[in-house]
Amino acid sequence: MNGWIIFILLIVLMLTGMPISIALGLTVLTFLAFMTDLPAELVSQRLFTGLDQFAIMAIPFFILAGTFLTHGGVARRMIRFATALVGHFHGGLAMAGVFACALFAAVSGSSPATVVAIGTILIPAMEKQGYPRKFGVGAIGTAGALGILIPPSIVMVIYSVSTNTSVGKLFIAGVVPGILLAAILMGITWVIARRRDYPRMQRASLKEIWSAFWDAIWGLLLIVVVIGGIYGGVFTPTEAAAVSAVYAFVIAVFVYRDLKLSDVPKVLLASANMSAMLLYIITNAILFSFLLTSENIPQAMAQWIIDKHLSVWMFLLGVNILLLIAGNFMEPSSIVLLLAPILFPVAVKLGVDPIHFGIIMTINMEVGLIHPPVGLNLYVASGIAKMGLTETTVAFAPWIVIMVLYLLLVTYVPQIATWLPNLVYARPG
Protein backbone atom coordinates (compact mmCIF):
# COMPACT_ATOMS: atom_id res chain seq x y z
CA MET A 1 0.00 0.00 0.00
CA ASN A 2 2.58 2.51 1.16
CA GLY A 3 4.75 1.39 -1.69
CA TRP A 4 2.17 2.45 -4.26
CA ILE A 5 1.79 5.86 -2.62
CA ILE A 6 5.54 6.40 -2.72
CA PHE A 7 5.83 5.50 -6.38
CA ILE A 8 2.77 7.40 -7.51
CA LEU A 9 3.86 10.50 -5.63
CA LEU A 10 7.34 10.29 -7.13
CA ILE A 11 6.03 9.84 -10.65
CA VAL A 12 3.54 12.71 -10.33
CA LEU A 13 6.21 15.03 -8.97
CA MET A 14 8.64 14.04 -11.71
CA LEU A 15 6.09 14.64 -14.45
CA THR A 16 5.67 18.26 -13.38
CA GLY A 17 9.18 18.70 -14.73
CA MET A 18 10.98 19.52 -11.50
CA PRO A 19 14.58 18.32 -11.15
CA ILE A 20 14.66 14.59 -10.42
CA SER A 21 16.70 15.18 -7.29
CA ILE A 22 14.04 17.52 -5.91
CA ALA A 23 11.21 15.11 -6.79
CA LEU A 24 13.04 12.35 -4.91
CA GLY A 25 13.66 14.58 -1.92
CA LEU A 26 10.09 15.84 -1.73
CA THR A 27 8.73 12.29 -1.90
CA VAL A 28 10.90 11.30 1.03
CA LEU A 29 9.93 14.42 2.99
CA THR A 30 6.20 13.91 2.41
CA PHE A 31 6.47 10.32 3.49
CA LEU A 32 8.40 11.17 6.62
CA ALA A 33 5.96 13.91 7.53
CA PHE A 34 2.74 11.92 7.16
CA MET A 35 3.26 8.22 6.96
CA THR A 36 5.92 7.00 9.32
CA ASP A 37 7.48 7.65 12.69
CA LEU A 38 11.03 7.76 11.42
CA PRO A 39 12.43 11.10 12.64
CA ALA A 40 12.59 13.80 9.97
CA GLU A 41 16.03 14.91 11.06
CA LEU A 42 17.30 11.62 9.78
CA VAL A 43 16.99 13.23 6.36
CA SER A 44 19.56 15.92 6.99
CA GLN A 45 21.97 13.44 8.49
CA ARG A 46 21.48 11.01 5.60
CA LEU A 47 22.04 13.84 3.15
CA PHE A 48 25.52 13.96 4.54
CA THR A 49 26.34 10.37 5.46
CA GLY A 50 24.88 9.12 2.18
CA LEU A 51 27.86 10.61 0.37
CA ASP A 52 30.34 9.56 3.02
CA GLN A 53 31.94 6.84 0.85
CA PHE A 54 35.29 7.02 -0.84
CA ALA A 55 34.05 4.95 -3.80
CA ILE A 56 31.55 7.67 -4.83
CA MET A 57 34.38 10.18 -5.09
CA ALA A 58 35.59 8.46 -8.25
CA ILE A 59 32.78 10.28 -10.04
CA PRO A 60 34.02 13.89 -9.66
CA PHE A 61 37.57 12.77 -10.39
CA PHE A 62 36.60 10.98 -13.60
CA ILE A 63 34.54 13.98 -14.65
CA LEU A 64 37.48 16.28 -14.06
CA ALA A 65 39.83 14.00 -15.99
CA GLY A 66 37.29 13.83 -18.80
CA THR A 67 36.95 17.60 -19.01
CA PHE A 68 40.71 18.03 -19.30
CA LEU A 69 40.91 15.30 -21.94
CA THR A 70 38.11 16.68 -24.06
CA HIS A 71 40.28 19.63 -25.01
CA GLY A 72 41.25 18.30 -28.38
CA GLY A 73 44.87 17.24 -28.03
CA VAL A 74 44.39 13.67 -26.87
CA ALA A 75 41.37 13.05 -29.09
CA ARG A 76 43.07 14.46 -32.20
CA ARG A 77 46.10 12.21 -31.74
CA MET A 78 43.96 9.16 -31.08
CA ILE A 79 42.08 9.90 -34.30
CA ARG A 80 45.37 10.16 -36.20
CA PHE A 81 46.53 6.84 -34.78
CA ALA A 82 43.21 5.14 -35.56
CA THR A 83 43.22 6.57 -39.09
CA ALA A 84 46.72 5.27 -39.69
CA LEU A 85 45.55 1.78 -38.73
CA VAL A 86 42.19 1.47 -40.50
CA GLY A 87 41.99 4.43 -42.87
CA HIS A 88 42.70 2.37 -45.98
CA PHE A 89 39.53 0.27 -45.67
CA HIS A 90 36.24 1.23 -47.30
CA GLY A 91 34.84 4.13 -45.28
CA GLY A 92 38.22 4.38 -43.60
CA LEU A 93 37.66 7.67 -41.85
CA ALA A 94 34.33 6.53 -40.42
CA MET A 95 35.89 3.32 -39.16
CA ALA A 96 38.73 5.30 -37.68
CA GLY A 97 36.09 7.43 -35.97
CA VAL A 98 34.52 4.41 -34.29
CA PHE A 99 37.95 3.11 -33.36
CA ALA A 100 38.96 6.50 -31.93
CA CYS A 101 35.73 6.61 -29.91
CA ALA A 102 36.65 3.24 -28.40
CA LEU A 103 40.15 4.48 -27.56
CA PHE A 104 38.85 7.67 -26.05
CA ALA A 105 36.20 5.72 -24.12
CA ALA A 106 39.07 3.90 -22.44
CA VAL A 107 40.25 7.14 -20.85
CA SER A 108 36.88 8.82 -20.36
CA GLY A 109 33.93 7.70 -18.29
CA SER A 110 31.24 9.63 -20.09
CA SER A 111 29.50 9.08 -23.41
CA PRO A 112 28.55 12.66 -24.33
CA ALA A 113 32.13 13.71 -23.59
CA THR A 114 33.36 11.08 -26.02
CA VAL A 115 31.05 12.37 -28.72
CA VAL A 116 32.22 15.93 -28.08
CA ALA A 117 35.90 15.00 -28.13
CA ILE A 118 35.85 12.81 -31.25
CA GLY A 119 32.82 14.23 -33.04
CA THR A 120 33.95 17.86 -33.00
CA ILE A 121 36.95 16.89 -35.08
CA LEU A 122 35.64 13.99 -37.12
CA ILE A 123 32.08 14.87 -38.12
CA PRO A 124 33.21 17.95 -40.11
CA ALA A 125 36.22 16.04 -41.46
CA MET A 126 34.02 13.22 -42.73
CA GLU A 127 31.75 15.66 -44.47
CA LYS A 128 34.74 17.22 -46.18
CA GLN A 129 35.75 13.79 -47.49
CA GLY A 130 32.32 13.38 -49.02
CA TYR A 131 30.39 11.32 -46.50
CA PRO A 132 26.73 12.28 -46.10
CA ARG A 133 26.45 14.27 -42.91
CA LYS A 134 23.75 11.93 -41.62
CA PHE A 135 26.08 8.95 -41.77
CA GLY A 136 28.85 10.67 -39.83
CA VAL A 137 26.49 11.90 -37.15
CA GLY A 138 24.92 8.47 -36.66
CA ALA A 139 28.16 6.53 -36.63
CA ILE A 140 30.13 8.80 -34.30
CA GLY A 141 27.18 9.56 -32.04
CA THR A 142 26.52 5.87 -31.55
CA ALA A 143 30.17 4.88 -31.15
CA GLY A 144 30.43 7.65 -28.55
CA ALA A 145 28.07 5.63 -26.38
CA LEU A 146 31.02 3.27 -25.85
CA GLY A 147 32.18 5.88 -23.32
CA ILE A 148 30.16 4.29 -20.54
CA LEU A 149 30.71 0.67 -21.55
CA ILE A 150 34.47 0.66 -21.94
CA PRO A 151 36.06 1.39 -18.56
CA PRO A 152 36.37 3.76 -16.81
CA SER A 153 32.65 4.47 -16.64
CA ILE A 154 30.72 6.88 -14.45
CA VAL A 155 27.51 4.88 -14.90
CA MET A 156 29.27 1.75 -13.63
CA VAL A 157 30.55 3.59 -10.57
CA ILE A 158 26.98 4.66 -9.84
CA TYR A 159 25.70 1.10 -10.32
CA SER A 160 28.36 -0.24 -7.99
CA VAL A 161 27.52 2.36 -5.35
CA SER A 162 23.80 1.62 -5.44
CA THR A 163 24.18 -2.15 -5.43
CA ASN A 164 27.40 -2.71 -3.49
CA THR A 165 29.15 -4.53 -6.30
CA SER A 166 32.85 -4.17 -7.03
CA VAL A 167 33.71 -1.30 -9.38
CA GLY A 168 36.89 -3.08 -10.40
CA LYS A 169 34.99 -6.17 -11.53
CA LEU A 170 32.40 -4.10 -13.40
CA PHE A 171 35.13 -2.19 -15.19
CA ILE A 172 36.84 -5.35 -16.32
CA ALA A 173 33.49 -6.86 -17.30
CA GLY A 174 32.95 -3.89 -19.63
CA VAL A 175 36.12 -4.60 -21.61
CA VAL A 176 34.93 -7.54 -23.74
CA PRO A 177 31.42 -6.21 -24.51
CA GLY A 178 33.01 -2.83 -25.26
CA ILE A 179 35.57 -4.19 -27.70
CA LEU A 180 32.97 -6.49 -29.26
CA LEU A 181 30.56 -3.60 -29.77
CA ALA A 182 33.32 -1.44 -31.26
CA ALA A 183 34.17 -4.30 -33.64
CA ILE A 184 30.52 -4.75 -34.63
CA LEU A 185 30.08 -1.03 -35.27
CA MET A 186 33.25 -0.94 -37.34
CA GLY A 187 32.12 -4.00 -39.28
CA ILE A 188 28.77 -2.44 -40.07
CA THR A 189 30.44 0.80 -41.09
CA TRP A 190 32.67 -1.16 -43.44
CA VAL A 191 29.76 -3.03 -45.02
CA ILE A 192 27.73 0.14 -45.57
CA ALA A 193 30.76 2.02 -46.86
CA ARG A 194 31.56 -0.74 -49.33
CA ARG A 195 28.04 -0.81 -50.67
CA ARG A 196 27.76 2.94 -51.00
CA ASP A 197 31.34 3.35 -52.09
CA TYR A 198 32.48 5.77 -49.42
CA PRO A 199 36.04 7.07 -49.79
CA ARG A 200 39.10 5.07 -48.79
CA MET A 201 42.30 6.67 -47.71
CA GLN A 202 45.82 5.82 -48.70
CA ARG A 203 47.29 2.97 -46.71
CA ALA A 204 49.60 4.38 -44.07
CA SER A 205 53.19 3.19 -44.11
CA LEU A 206 54.55 1.37 -41.07
CA LYS A 207 56.61 4.44 -40.39
CA GLU A 208 53.52 6.64 -40.35
CA ILE A 209 51.71 4.20 -38.03
CA TRP A 210 54.69 4.21 -35.73
CA SER A 211 54.92 7.99 -35.63
CA ALA A 212 51.15 8.32 -35.07
CA PHE A 213 51.47 5.82 -32.25
CA TRP A 214 54.26 7.79 -30.59
CA ASP A 215 52.37 10.99 -31.03
CA ALA A 216 49.34 9.49 -29.28
CA ILE A 217 51.38 7.71 -26.62
CA TRP A 218 50.44 10.05 -23.77
CA GLY A 219 46.77 9.41 -24.20
CA LEU A 220 47.27 5.69 -24.76
CA LEU A 221 49.43 5.45 -21.65
CA LEU A 222 46.54 6.76 -19.61
CA ILE A 223 44.59 3.63 -20.56
CA VAL A 224 47.40 1.58 -19.08
CA VAL A 225 47.55 3.76 -15.97
CA VAL A 226 43.82 3.54 -15.22
CA ILE A 227 43.02 -0.04 -16.18
CA GLY A 228 46.40 -1.48 -15.30
CA GLY A 229 46.54 0.48 -12.08
CA ILE A 230 43.21 -0.81 -10.84
CA TYR A 231 43.82 -4.46 -11.79
CA GLY A 232 47.40 -4.48 -10.72
CA GLY A 233 46.18 -3.43 -7.29
CA VAL A 234 48.30 -0.30 -7.56
CA PHE A 235 45.37 1.84 -6.55
CA THR A 236 41.66 1.90 -5.89
CA PRO A 237 39.32 3.12 -8.64
CA THR A 238 38.93 6.46 -6.85
CA GLU A 239 42.68 6.91 -6.63
CA ALA A 240 43.02 5.90 -10.26
CA ALA A 241 40.47 8.57 -11.11
CA ALA A 242 42.40 11.23 -9.15
CA VAL A 243 45.67 10.21 -10.76
CA SER A 244 44.13 10.34 -14.22
CA ALA A 245 42.75 13.81 -13.46
CA VAL A 246 46.23 15.07 -12.60
CA TYR A 247 47.72 13.23 -15.56
CA ALA A 248 45.12 14.69 -17.92
CA PHE A 249 45.83 18.15 -16.54
CA VAL A 250 49.56 17.79 -17.15
CA ILE A 251 49.03 16.51 -20.70
CA ALA A 252 46.50 19.18 -21.63
CA VAL A 253 48.43 22.10 -20.18
CA PHE A 254 52.11 21.19 -20.45
CA VAL A 255 52.55 18.40 -23.01
CA TYR A 256 50.02 19.06 -25.76
CA ARG A 257 49.42 22.64 -24.67
CA ASP A 258 45.86 22.79 -25.95
CA LEU A 259 44.68 24.34 -22.74
CA LYS A 260 45.99 27.55 -21.22
CA LEU A 261 46.81 27.55 -17.53
CA SER A 262 44.42 30.46 -17.16
CA ASP A 263 41.58 28.24 -18.43
CA VAL A 264 42.11 25.68 -15.68
CA PRO A 265 39.79 27.38 -13.15
CA LYS A 266 37.03 27.26 -15.76
CA VAL A 267 37.62 23.56 -16.29
CA LEU A 268 37.52 23.00 -12.53
CA LEU A 269 34.29 24.92 -12.22
CA ALA A 270 32.63 23.14 -15.14
CA SER A 271 33.61 19.74 -13.73
CA ALA A 272 32.44 20.73 -10.27
CA ASN A 273 29.13 21.83 -11.73
CA MET A 274 28.55 18.50 -13.44
CA SER A 275 29.79 16.48 -10.44
CA ALA A 276 27.70 18.40 -7.95
CA MET A 277 24.58 17.78 -10.02
CA LEU A 278 25.27 14.04 -10.05
CA LEU A 279 26.21 13.94 -6.39
CA TYR A 280 23.02 15.81 -5.52
CA ILE A 281 20.89 13.24 -7.33
CA ILE A 282 22.95 10.50 -5.69
CA THR A 283 22.33 11.83 -2.18
CA ASN A 284 18.61 12.14 -2.75
CA ALA A 285 18.44 8.76 -4.45
CA ILE A 286 20.25 7.17 -1.51
CA LEU A 287 17.68 8.82 0.73
CA PHE A 288 14.91 7.43 -1.43
CA SER A 289 16.26 3.90 -1.54
CA PHE A 290 16.73 4.06 2.22
CA LEU A 291 13.04 4.87 2.47
CA LEU A 292 12.16 1.98 0.14
CA THR A 293 14.25 -0.45 2.15
CA SER A 294 12.79 0.68 5.45
CA GLU A 295 9.36 -0.03 3.94
CA ASN A 296 10.57 -3.43 2.71
CA ILE A 297 9.53 -2.57 -0.82
CA PRO A 298 12.36 -4.16 -2.84
CA GLN A 299 11.99 -7.34 -0.83
CA ALA A 300 8.24 -7.40 -1.37
CA MET A 301 8.68 -6.86 -5.10
CA ALA A 302 11.28 -9.60 -5.28
CA GLN A 303 8.88 -11.96 -3.51
CA TRP A 304 6.03 -10.96 -5.79
CA ILE A 305 8.04 -11.69 -8.90
CA ILE A 306 9.31 -14.98 -7.50
CA ASP A 307 5.75 -16.03 -6.63
CA LYS A 308 4.82 -15.44 -10.25
CA HIS A 309 7.43 -18.09 -11.17
CA LEU A 310 8.91 -15.82 -13.79
CA SER A 311 11.78 -17.43 -15.60
CA VAL A 312 15.06 -15.56 -15.73
CA TRP A 313 14.81 -14.79 -19.41
CA MET A 314 11.33 -13.32 -19.00
CA PHE A 315 12.52 -11.23 -16.09
CA LEU A 316 15.49 -9.93 -18.07
CA LEU A 317 13.26 -9.14 -21.02
CA GLY A 318 10.97 -7.20 -18.68
CA VAL A 319 13.94 -5.38 -17.19
CA ASN A 320 15.18 -4.41 -20.64
CA ILE A 321 11.79 -3.11 -21.68
CA LEU A 322 11.40 -1.18 -18.44
CA LEU A 323 14.86 0.37 -18.79
CA LEU A 324 14.31 1.24 -22.44
CA ILE A 325 11.10 3.00 -21.50
CA ALA A 326 12.82 4.82 -18.64
CA GLY A 327 15.42 5.91 -21.18
CA ASN A 328 12.72 8.04 -22.76
CA PHE A 329 12.38 10.15 -19.67
CA MET A 330 15.60 10.30 -17.72
CA GLU A 331 19.32 10.35 -18.24
CA PRO A 332 21.43 7.30 -17.34
CA SER A 333 22.65 8.15 -13.84
CA SER A 334 19.14 8.89 -12.59
CA ILE A 335 17.76 5.68 -14.06
CA VAL A 336 20.48 3.56 -12.49
CA LEU A 337 20.09 5.32 -9.14
CA LEU A 338 16.33 4.86 -9.14
CA LEU A 339 15.95 1.40 -10.59
CA ALA A 340 19.10 -0.50 -9.64
CA PRO A 341 18.20 -0.71 -5.91
CA ILE A 342 14.76 -2.07 -6.84
CA LEU A 343 15.70 -4.46 -9.65
CA PHE A 344 18.99 -5.69 -8.26
CA PRO A 345 17.61 -7.72 -5.30
CA VAL A 346 15.17 -9.47 -7.63
CA ALA A 347 17.89 -10.23 -10.14
CA VAL A 348 20.14 -11.68 -7.47
CA LYS A 349 17.32 -13.83 -6.09
CA LEU A 350 16.63 -15.19 -9.55
CA GLY A 351 20.29 -16.07 -9.86
CA VAL A 352 21.42 -13.41 -12.33
CA ASP A 353 25.10 -12.59 -11.98
CA PRO A 354 25.37 -9.10 -10.36
CA ILE A 355 28.15 -8.09 -12.74
CA HIS A 356 26.25 -9.30 -15.78
CA PHE A 357 23.22 -7.36 -14.59
CA GLY A 358 25.34 -4.22 -14.34
CA ILE A 359 26.53 -4.63 -17.91
CA ILE A 360 22.95 -5.13 -19.12
CA MET A 361 21.95 -1.91 -17.40
CA THR A 362 24.92 -0.07 -18.87
CA ILE A 363 24.13 -1.14 -22.44
CA ASN A 364 20.52 -0.14 -21.87
CA MET A 365 21.73 3.29 -20.86
CA GLU A 366 23.76 3.47 -24.07
CA VAL A 367 20.57 2.93 -26.05
CA GLY A 368 18.83 5.65 -24.03
CA LEU A 369 21.68 8.01 -24.87
CA ILE A 370 21.13 7.79 -28.61
CA HIS A 371 17.40 8.30 -28.94
CA PRO A 372 15.07 11.22 -28.22
CA PRO A 373 13.67 12.86 -26.21
CA VAL A 374 16.49 12.85 -23.64
CA GLY A 375 19.43 11.12 -25.37
CA LEU A 376 22.40 13.34 -24.68
CA ASN A 377 24.57 11.89 -27.44
CA LEU A 378 21.88 12.85 -29.88
CA TYR A 379 21.80 16.45 -28.69
CA VAL A 380 25.55 16.73 -28.63
CA ALA A 381 25.90 15.27 -32.11
CA SER A 382 23.16 17.48 -33.51
CA GLY A 383 24.89 20.47 -31.92
CA ILE A 384 28.23 19.61 -33.47
CA ALA A 385 26.81 18.93 -36.92
CA LYS A 386 24.38 21.87 -36.72
CA MET A 387 21.67 19.46 -37.75
CA GLY A 388 18.02 19.63 -36.68
CA LEU A 389 16.83 17.20 -34.03
CA THR A 390 14.39 15.37 -36.30
CA GLU A 391 17.03 14.87 -38.94
CA THR A 392 19.52 13.71 -36.32
CA THR A 393 16.99 11.22 -35.01
CA VAL A 394 16.56 9.81 -38.50
CA ALA A 395 20.34 9.55 -38.76
CA PHE A 396 20.49 7.57 -35.51
CA ALA A 397 17.51 5.28 -36.24
CA PRO A 398 19.33 2.37 -37.92
CA TRP A 399 22.01 2.46 -35.23
CA ILE A 400 19.40 2.24 -32.49
CA VAL A 401 18.17 -1.02 -33.99
CA ILE A 402 21.70 -2.40 -33.97
CA MET A 403 22.18 -1.38 -30.37
CA VAL A 404 18.96 -3.06 -29.25
CA LEU A 405 20.00 -6.28 -31.00
CA TYR A 406 23.37 -6.08 -29.31
CA LEU A 407 21.63 -5.53 -25.97
CA LEU A 408 19.64 -8.74 -26.48
CA LEU A 409 22.81 -10.60 -27.40
CA VAL A 410 24.60 -9.56 -24.22
CA THR A 411 21.47 -10.18 -22.14
CA TYR A 412 21.13 -13.78 -23.25
CA VAL A 413 24.79 -14.64 -23.64
CA PRO A 414 26.05 -13.66 -20.19
CA GLN A 415 29.50 -15.09 -20.90
CA ILE A 416 30.31 -12.02 -23.01
CA ALA A 417 30.22 -9.99 -19.81
CA THR A 418 31.26 -12.52 -17.17
CA TRP A 419 34.02 -14.46 -18.91
CA LEU A 420 36.84 -11.97 -18.40
CA PRO A 421 36.10 -10.93 -14.81
CA ASN A 422 35.71 -14.57 -13.80
CA LEU A 423 39.01 -15.33 -15.43
CA VAL A 424 40.80 -12.43 -13.79
CA TYR A 425 39.25 -12.76 -10.37
CA ALA A 426 39.36 -16.58 -10.56
CA ARG A 427 36.39 -17.10 -8.23
CA PRO A 428 33.09 -16.14 -9.74
CA GLY A 429 30.42 -14.32 -7.76
Binding site: S21, I22, L47, F54, T70, A272, N273, N328
Partner: protein, 185 residues
Protein backbone atom coordinates in the same frame (compact mmCIF):
# COMPACT_ATOMS: atom_id res chain seq x y z
CA UNK B 1 21.70 43.95 -3.62
CA UNK B 2 23.60 43.87 -6.91
CA UNK B 3 26.96 43.96 -5.15
CA UNK B 4 25.84 41.32 -2.68
CA UNK B 5 24.86 38.96 -5.48
CA UNK B 6 28.10 39.56 -7.35
CA UNK B 7 30.19 38.79 -4.28
CA UNK B 8 28.08 35.73 -3.55
CA UNK B 9 28.44 34.48 -7.14
CA UNK B 10 32.19 34.83 -7.05
CA UNK B 11 32.52 33.29 -3.62
CA UNK B 12 30.41 30.33 -4.70
CA UNK B 13 32.41 29.72 -7.87
CA UNK B 14 35.69 30.18 -6.12
CA UNK B 15 34.82 27.80 -3.29
CA UNK B 16 33.51 25.09 -5.58
CA UNK B 17 36.52 25.18 -7.93
CA UNK B 18 38.99 25.26 -5.02
CA UNK B 19 37.41 22.27 -3.28
CA UNK B 20 37.66 20.34 -6.52
CA UNK B 21 41.32 21.23 -7.03
CA UNK B 22 42.25 20.64 -3.41
CA UNK B 23 40.63 17.18 -3.26
CA UNK B 24 42.50 16.15 -6.41
CA UNK B 25 45.83 17.34 -5.05
CA UNK B 26 45.23 15.60 -1.71
CA UNK B 27 44.51 12.19 -3.21
CA UNK B 28 47.24 12.49 -5.82
CA UNK B 29 49.76 13.37 -3.13
CA UNK B 30 48.71 10.47 -0.93
CA UNK B 31 49.12 8.01 -3.82
CA UNK B 32 52.49 9.53 -4.67
CA UNK B 33 53.48 9.33 -1.03
CA UNK B 34 52.61 5.65 -0.83
CA UNK B 35 54.64 4.76 -3.90
CA UNK B 36 57.68 6.83 -3.09
CA UNK B 37 57.94 5.23 0.34
CA UNK B 38 60.10 2.50 -1.23
CA UNK B 39 62.67 5.01 -2.42
CA UNK B 40 65.12 5.44 0.43
CA UNK B 41 66.14 9.07 -0.04
CA UNK B 42 62.57 10.27 -0.51
CA UNK B 43 61.44 8.27 2.49
CA UNK B 44 64.09 10.07 4.57
CA UNK B 45 62.25 13.30 3.97
CA UNK B 46 58.71 12.01 4.10
CA UNK B 47 58.72 9.41 6.88
CA UNK B 48 57.52 11.83 9.51
CA UNK B 49 54.52 12.88 7.41
CA UNK B 50 51.29 11.11 8.16
CA UNK B 51 48.72 11.07 5.37
CA UNK B 52 46.12 8.65 6.73
CA UNK B 53 43.61 11.50 6.82
CA UNK B 54 43.74 12.06 3.07
CA UNK B 55 40.66 9.99 2.22
CA UNK B 56 38.58 11.58 4.92
CA UNK B 57 39.60 15.07 3.85
CA UNK B 58 38.84 14.24 0.22
CA UNK B 59 35.35 13.02 1.13
CA UNK B 60 34.62 16.13 3.19
CA UNK B 61 35.94 18.44 0.48
CA UNK B 62 33.74 16.75 -2.10
CA UNK B 63 30.68 16.86 0.11
CA UNK B 64 31.20 20.59 0.55
CA UNK B 65 31.85 20.91 -3.15
CA UNK B 66 28.64 18.97 -3.86
CA UNK B 67 26.45 21.07 -1.57
CA UNK B 68 27.67 24.42 -2.86
CA UNK B 69 28.04 23.12 -6.40
CA UNK B 70 24.39 22.08 -6.35
CA UNK B 71 23.49 25.69 -5.57
CA UNK B 72 25.76 26.88 -8.38
CA UNK B 73 24.02 24.30 -10.58
CA UNK B 74 20.64 25.94 -10.03
CA UNK B 75 22.14 29.13 -11.43
CA UNK B 76 23.57 27.31 -14.47
CA UNK B 77 20.41 25.26 -15.03
CA UNK B 78 22.14 21.88 -14.83
CA UNK B 79 19.50 20.20 -12.64
CA UNK B 80 17.20 18.64 -15.18
CA UNK B 81 13.92 16.86 -14.80
CA UNK B 82 11.42 15.03 -16.92
CA UNK B 83 10.12 17.93 -19.00
CA UNK B 84 8.40 16.05 -21.83
CA UNK B 85 4.93 16.88 -20.51
CA UNK B 86 5.61 20.48 -19.59
CA UNK B 87 7.05 21.13 -23.04
CA UNK B 88 3.73 20.15 -24.60
CA UNK B 89 1.78 22.78 -22.67
CA UNK B 90 0.67 26.15 -23.97
CA UNK B 91 2.95 29.02 -22.80
CA UNK B 92 0.78 30.37 -19.92
CA UNK B 93 0.33 26.91 -18.37
CA UNK B 94 3.94 26.12 -18.96
CA UNK B 95 4.88 29.30 -17.16
CA UNK B 96 2.83 28.19 -14.20
CA UNK B 97 4.44 24.76 -13.98
CA UNK B 98 7.98 26.04 -14.39
CA UNK B 99 7.37 28.48 -11.55
CA UNK B 100 5.82 25.66 -9.52
CA UNK B 101 8.92 23.50 -10.08
CA UNK B 102 11.29 26.26 -9.04
CA UNK B 103 9.29 27.00 -5.91
CA UNK B 104 9.14 23.28 -5.09
CA UNK B 105 12.94 23.31 -5.29
CA UNK B 106 13.07 26.32 -3.00
CA UNK B 107 10.68 24.63 -0.59
CA UNK B 108 12.64 21.36 -0.41
CA UNK B 109 16.02 23.03 0.01
CA UNK B 110 14.51 25.43 2.56
CA UNK B 111 13.17 22.57 4.66
CA UNK B 112 16.49 20.76 4.45
CA UNK B 113 18.32 23.93 5.49
CA UNK B 114 16.16 24.16 8.62
CA UNK B 115 16.38 20.44 9.44
CA UNK B 116 20.11 20.52 8.80
CA UNK B 117 20.49 23.56 10.99
CA UNK B 118 18.66 21.83 13.84
CA UNK B 119 20.82 18.79 13.38
CA UNK B 120 24.05 20.81 13.47
CA UNK B 121 22.81 22.64 16.54
CA UNK B 122 22.36 19.31 18.29
CA UNK B 123 25.82 18.15 17.16
CA UNK B 124 27.50 21.15 18.79
CA UNK B 125 26.51 19.80 22.18
CA UNK B 126 27.85 16.28 21.59
CA UNK B 127 31.46 17.28 20.97
CA UNK B 128 31.82 14.54 18.35
CA UNK B 129 34.96 14.69 16.21
CA UNK B 130 35.80 13.03 12.88
CA UNK B 131 37.87 9.81 13.11
CA UNK B 132 41.09 10.89 11.35
CA UNK B 133 41.23 14.66 11.17
CA UNK B 134 39.54 15.11 14.55
CA UNK B 135 37.51 18.01 13.20
CA UNK B 136 34.38 18.82 15.20
CA UNK B 137 31.62 17.02 13.34
CA UNK B 138 29.25 19.95 13.52
CA UNK B 139 31.66 22.02 11.44
CA UNK B 140 31.79 19.27 8.84
CA UNK B 141 28.00 18.87 8.79
CA UNK B 142 27.57 22.62 8.40
CA UNK B 143 27.78 21.95 4.66
CA UNK B 144 24.16 20.75 4.67
CA UNK B 145 22.40 23.83 6.13
CA UNK B 146 24.75 26.32 4.44
CA UNK B 147 24.66 24.71 1.03
CA UNK B 148 20.94 24.11 1.20
CA UNK B 149 20.20 27.71 2.22
CA UNK B 150 22.24 28.96 -0.69
CA UNK B 151 20.47 26.56 -3.01
CA UNK B 152 17.09 27.78 -1.73
CA UNK B 153 18.18 31.34 -2.41
CA UNK B 154 19.25 30.37 -5.95
CA UNK B 155 15.90 28.73 -6.67
CA UNK B 156 14.07 31.86 -5.54
CA UNK B 157 16.42 34.01 -7.58
CA UNK B 158 15.89 31.96 -10.74
CA UNK B 159 12.10 31.94 -10.14
CA UNK B 160 12.10 35.72 -9.69
CA UNK B 161 14.05 36.25 -12.89
CA UNK B 162 11.82 33.83 -14.75
CA UNK B 163 8.68 35.69 -13.71
CA UNK B 164 10.20 38.99 -14.76
CA UNK B 165 12.02 38.11 -17.97
CA UNK B 166 10.74 34.65 -18.91
CA UNK B 167 14.31 33.42 -19.15
CA UNK B 168 15.67 30.23 -17.65
CA UNK B 169 19.31 29.23 -17.36
CA UNK B 170 20.07 26.27 -19.63
CA UNK B 171 23.07 24.01 -19.61
CA UNK B 172 24.52 22.75 -22.86
CA UNK B 173 26.43 19.47 -22.74
CA UNK B 174 27.99 20.09 -26.11
CA UNK B 175 29.79 23.12 -24.80
CA UNK B 176 33.14 22.45 -23.20
CA UNK B 177 34.77 25.23 -21.26
CA UNK B 178 37.83 26.66 -22.97
CA UNK B 179 37.47 24.54 -26.10
CA UNK B 180 38.51 26.32 -29.27
CA UNK B 181 35.94 24.89 -31.66
CA UNK B 182 32.49 26.36 -31.44
CA UNK B 183 30.20 23.46 -30.56
CA UNK B 184 27.37 25.13 -28.73
CA UNK B 185 24.05 23.52 -29.57
Amino acid sequence: MGTFNRVLDHLEEWLVASFMALATVVIFTSVLYRYTADIAWVWNYTRHINLTWAQELCIYLFIWMAKFGAAYGVRTGIHVGVDVLVRLLAPPKRRFWVTFDLLAGAFFTGVIAILGGMFVWRMVGTGQVSPDLELPMWVVYLAVPLGSSLMCYRFLQVAWRFRRTGELPAHSHAHVEGMQTETRA
